[in-house]
C-alpha cells in the first residue's frame, strides 16, 4: 500500500523549478508576440475605422446631394394655374437658385454667376414635403468643411438667406485644399489633383444646345475628396476617399 502510494506520488509530482521557468518563459514569449500582434492589429483597426468613418460620411453626403438634386424643381410651374404661379413665385421651385439676377435673369455659370452655382457651391430648390413649402438647400465648401443649409425660399437673395443657416455637414473635404495640404496628399496619392489644381465638387451638364445657365442644368456631377480624420499611425499619412456620383434633375424646365 505504501509502495503504491509512493509510486503514485512520483507520477503525480509537481513540475520542477526548471520546468516551470521554461514554461513561464515560453508562455511570456508567446503572449508577448500575441500582444504585440494584437497591438498592431488594434492600431490598424483604429486606422481602418477612421478611414471607413470618412467613407461612410462621404457616402451619406453623396446620397443626400443626389436626392436633393433628384427632387430639385418640385413643384414646377406647371403644378399651378398660370395666374397662381405668377402671383406666388415662392411656391414654385426652379431647380437651382443663382446669384446674381435671381429670380428674373439667369446668370451664366462660370462667368456672371457669383458664389452659386459654382464649383463649390450649389443651391437646389424643392418642396421636401415637410410642410415648410419650397426650401433652398445649399451646399457650400468652406475651407475643408462642406456646409449644408436649409432655408425657406423667400424670393430674395438665396445666398444671403442661407448664409446664417449653414452648418457643418462633411468634414475634411479636400477638393479645394491649400497648396501645402494638396502637396501632402499628393505624396501618398500621386493621382490626386492633376495639375495641382483644385477639384470641383460640382460640375454641371446642361440640356443640349442650351445656354450655360442654372435653369438649363440637367445633371450635377459630384466629386468628393475626403481624407481621414487622423493620419495612419503606421505610415503617418492621411488616407483619402474619392467618391464620384451623378445626379439627374428630373423635373421639367421652368
Amino acid at each position: 500500500m505504501k509502495n503504491s502510494q509512493n509510486s503514485r506520488r512520483a507520477s503525480e509530482g509537481g513540475f520542477s523549478l526548471i520546468e516551470l521557468m521554461i514554461a513561464t518563459l515560453l508562455f511570456t514569449t508567446v503572449a508577448g508576440i500575441t500582444f504585440a500582434l494584437l497591438g498592431v492589429s488594434l492600431t490598424r483597426y483604429k486606422s481602418e475605422k477612421d478611414y471607413l468613418n470618412s467613407f461612410q460620411q462621404a457616402n451619406v453626403a453623396m446620397d443626400q446631394i443626389a436626392r436633393d438634386v433628384h427632387t430639385a424643381g418640385y413643384p414646377p410651374t406647371n403644378s399651378f394655374t398660370t395666374a397662381t404661379a405668377a402671383a406666388n413665385p415662392t411656391k414654385v421651385a426652379t431647380p437651382f437658385a443663382w446669384v446674381t439676377g435671381y429670380p428674373a435673369a439667369p446668370c451664366t455659370v462660370g462667368a456672371t454667376c457669383v458664389t452659386t452655382p459654382s464649383n463649390f457651391d450649389l443651391i437646389t430648390e424643392a418642396d421636401l414635403g415637410t410642410g415648410n413649402g419650397v426650401q433652398w438647400i445649399r451646399y457650400s465648401l468652406q475651407g475643408t468643411t462642406l456646409m449644408r443649409a436649409v432655408a425657406n425660399k423667400n424670393g430674395n437673395n438665396p445666398v444671403a438667406a442661407t448664409a446664417d443657416k449653414l452648418i457643418p455637414y462633411l468634414d475634411n473635404v479636400m477638393n479645394n485644399a491649400s497648396a501645402a495640404q494638396m502637396a501632402t496628399l499628393k505624396a501618398g496619392n500621386p493621382d490626386l489633383f492633376p495639375g495641382n489644381a483644385a477639384v470641383p465638387i460640382f460640375t454641371y451638364t446642361y440640356d443640349a444646345g442650351a445656354a450655360l445657365q442654372p435653369p438649363n442644368i440637367r445633371e450635377v456631377n459630384v466629386t468628393l475628396i475626403v481624407q481621414s480624420a487622423q493620419p495612419d499611425p503606421n505610415t503617418g499619412k492621411y488616407r483619402v476617399v474619392v467618391l464620384t456620383g451623378q445626379a439627374l434633375r428630373i423635373n421639367p424646365n421652368q
Partner: protein, 482 residues
C-alpha cells in the same frame, strides 16, 4: 485524509493546460474577429452605396412602367383598369401594379406592422389608409412566362391628383380642394371644374412607387404625369385656317355642319367630360371670309349650318380664338412635327385604306400621312389623322376624332355616304407645291361634292378620346423621404 490532499492538488492542476490553451485561442480569435469585422464593414459599406443607388433606379423603373402602360398603344396597356377611355378617374379611386418576387406576397393595403411593403404614405395624401379592396394588377415582370428578373420595385400606386393629395394650392384660393381632380392643359394644372372654355385639358395622375432591395434599401418616388398636350383647340367644327378659303358645299339635304357639342349621330359611349359651349359650324379667320364662305353654300341649305349664334349659316370669325399652335405657318408645321413624334403610324403618301390601322373607340390611333391619302368604301377611323397632302374621302367613310389637313391644305369629300365626322376638322395651307413652307398661310380648299348625310359635327368627347392615344409626359418628380 492523507490520501485526499494529493488528490485535491492534482485536481487543481489538471485544468491549467486547458486554461492556457483556451486563453491563447481566445486571443487569436479576437484578432481574427477584429480582422473579419473590418473586412465585413468595408464590404457592407460598398454594398450599401450600391444598394441605395439601385433602389433609386428600381423605383424609377416602376414609375416608368406605369407611365408606359397608361399609354393606350402599349401592348400591356392598363386601359380600363385605371380609367375607361373618355372618363375621369374619380377622387378616392386607387390602383396598384404589384411586382412581387417569386413566391413573395406584396400587399400594400395590409397595414400590419410586419408588412414591410405596406403603403404607409397613402394616408398622408388622402387622410386614410388605402381600401383593402383596391384593384391590383401584376407588373410586366411578374406575369406568367416572364423569366427575366425585373427591377426590384414592389408596387406602383396610381391615383388621380388633387390639391390635397399634392399638398399644393393650385389655384391659390387658400384651400386644399379634395373634390375636383386636377387637369393639365399644356401649360398649367387646373381643377376639373375650372377648366377654361375652349381649352383641351387632360387628367393628371400621381404615380408612386416603392422599391426595396434585398439589403434593405428603400425608396419611395413619385411622378406627376398627364397626356402630352398638343395644345389642340377647335373653336369651330370645321376650321379654315387661312384667308380666303375655297368652300364648295354639297347640295344634299341630310348634310349638316354643326358646332353644337355632341350633335352628331354617334355619341361616344361612357363619356363623362362636361359638354363644351356651342361653336360656329364653320370657322374662318377674317370677317370678310364669312360672306365668301357662305356664298359657297346653296341658298336652300344655309340652315344646315348650326351652332353658335342665332343666324344660319353658323359661320364665325375665330381668328382670335385659335391657339398659338394653330395660327402661323411655323407653328402649324411644328404641330405636325410634334404629332409625328407621338404618332402610332407615320406613313408616306399616297396612302389608302390599308396603309394604316383605322383604330377603334377604345384604341384610337394617331396617324400622320406625309402626302396624299384616299379613303374609300365603308371605313371609319378613330383618333388623330394628319394629312400633309390632299385628303380625299369618298363613299361611306367618316372619322371620330380630329382631322388635320395641314400642308397642302386640300380636302376633297366625294360624299354619297351616311358616315360623318364627329370631332373637329381643320384645314390649313402651309406648304407650296414642292413641300416648302410658305411665307404665310395660303387659302385652304374644301370641295365637298355629292350627297349623303355626312358632315362635320363638333364633339368634345371624340376629340378628347382621340388624344387618349398620346403618351404620358412627366410633369414633376419627387423623392418622398420615409
Amino acid at each position: 485524509m492523507q490520501n485526499r490532499l494529493p488528490k485535491t492538488s492534482r485536481k487543481s492542476e489538471r485544468g491549467v493546460a486547458l486554461f492556457i490553451a483556451i486563453f491563447a485561442l481566445l486571443l487569436i480569435s479576437v484578432v481574427a474577429l477584429a480582422l473579419m469585422v473590418m473586412a465585413g464593414t468595408e464590404t457592407s459599406l460598398n454594398s450599401n452605396y450600391k444598394s441605395s443607388v439601385q433602389a433609386f433606379y428600381d423605383a424609377r423603373a416602376g414609375l416608368e412602367e406605369a407611365r408606359g402602360r397608361l399609354w393606350s398603344a402599349n401592348p400591356n396597356a392598363l386601359g380600363g383598369f385605371v380609367v375607361a377611355s373618355g372618363a375621369t378617374m374619380p377622387v378616392g379611386a386607387v390602383r396598384y401594379i404589384l411586382n412581387p418576387a417569386t413566391g413573395e406576397t406584396v400587399n400594400p393595403t395590409d397595414m400590419s406592422s410586419g408588412n414591410q411593403y405596406a403603403d404607409r404614405q397613402y394616408s398622408s395624401e388622402w387622410g386614410s389608409n388605402p381600401p383593402t379592396t383596391t384593384p391590383t394588377t401584376l407588373s410586366v415582370w411578374a406575369q406568367t412566362g416572364v423569366v427575366a428578373p425585373g427591377p426590384l420595385y414592389k408596387w406602383v400606386r396610381i391615383t388621380p391628383r388633387t390639391e390635397q393629395s399634392a399638398g399644393i394650392d393650385v389655384n391659390g384660393d387658400g384651400t386644399f380642394d379634395n373634390a375636383n381632380p386636377l387637369f393639365f392643359d399644356g401649360t398649367q394644372q387646373v381643377l376639373a371644374n375650372q377648366i377654361p372654355p375652349l381649352v383641351t385639358a387632360y387628367q393628371v395622375f400621381e404615380l408612386t412607387a416603392l422599391s426595396v432591395t434585398p439589403t434593405g434599401s428603400q425608396r419611395l418616388e413619385q411622378y406627376i404625369v398627364a397626356p402630352t398636350n398638343l395644345n389642340l383647340q377647335f373653336p369651330s367644327a370645321l376650321t379654315f385656317d387661312g384667308l380666303a378659303p375655297t368652300y364648295n358645299a354639297p347640295n344634299s339635304n341630310p348634310f349638316d355642319m354643326n358646332g353644337n357639342d355632341r350633335s352628331g349621330a354617334n355619341p361616344m359611349p361612357g363619356c363623362t367630360i362636361p359638354a363644351q359651349p356651342a361653336r360656329p359650324a364653320v370657322g374662318v379667320v377674317s370677317p370678310a371670309d364669312i360672306a365668301t364662305t357662305a356664298s359657297g353654300i346653296p341658298a336652300d341649305r344655309l340652315d344646315h349650318y348650326l351652332g353658335a349664334g342665332v343666324t344660319t349659316p353658323s359661320i364665325g370669325n375665330i381668328s382670335s380664338l385659335l391657339p398659338t399652335t394653330e395660327n402661323t405657318v411655323t407653328n402649324l408645321n411644328q404641330l405636325v412635327a410634334n404629332i409625328t413624334q407621338v404618332a402610332n403610324n407615320v406613313v408616306q403618301g399616297p396612302a389608302g385604306n390599308n396603309s394604316f390601322p383605322l383604330g377603334s373607340a377604345s384604341s384610337p390611333q394617331i396617324t400622320v400621312v406625309n402626302g396624299d391619302l384616299t379613303l374609300t368604301g365603308s371605313n371609319v377611323g378613330y383618333g388623330i389623322l394628319v394629312v400633309t397632302g390632299t385628303l380625299t374621302f369618298s363613299g361611306n367613310t367618316g372619322w371620330r376624332g380630329i382631322v388635320l389637313v395641314i400642308g397642302q391644305g386640300n380636302m376633297v369629300e366625294n360624299g354619297g355616304g351616311n358616315e360623318e365626322f364627329d370631332g373637329a376638322v381643320l384645314v390649313a395651307k402651309t406648304l407650296d407645291a414642292n413641300g416648302n413652307p410658305l411665307p404665310s398661310l395660303n387659302a385652304p380648299i374644301l370641295n365637298w361634292a355629292g350627297g349623303g348625310g355626312n358632315g362635320v359635327y363638333y364633339d368634345s368627347c371624340w376629340i378628347n378620346n382621340a388624344t387618349s392615344g398620346l403618351t404620358y409626359k412627366v410633369l414633376g418628380f419627387r423623392e418622398i423621404s420615409q
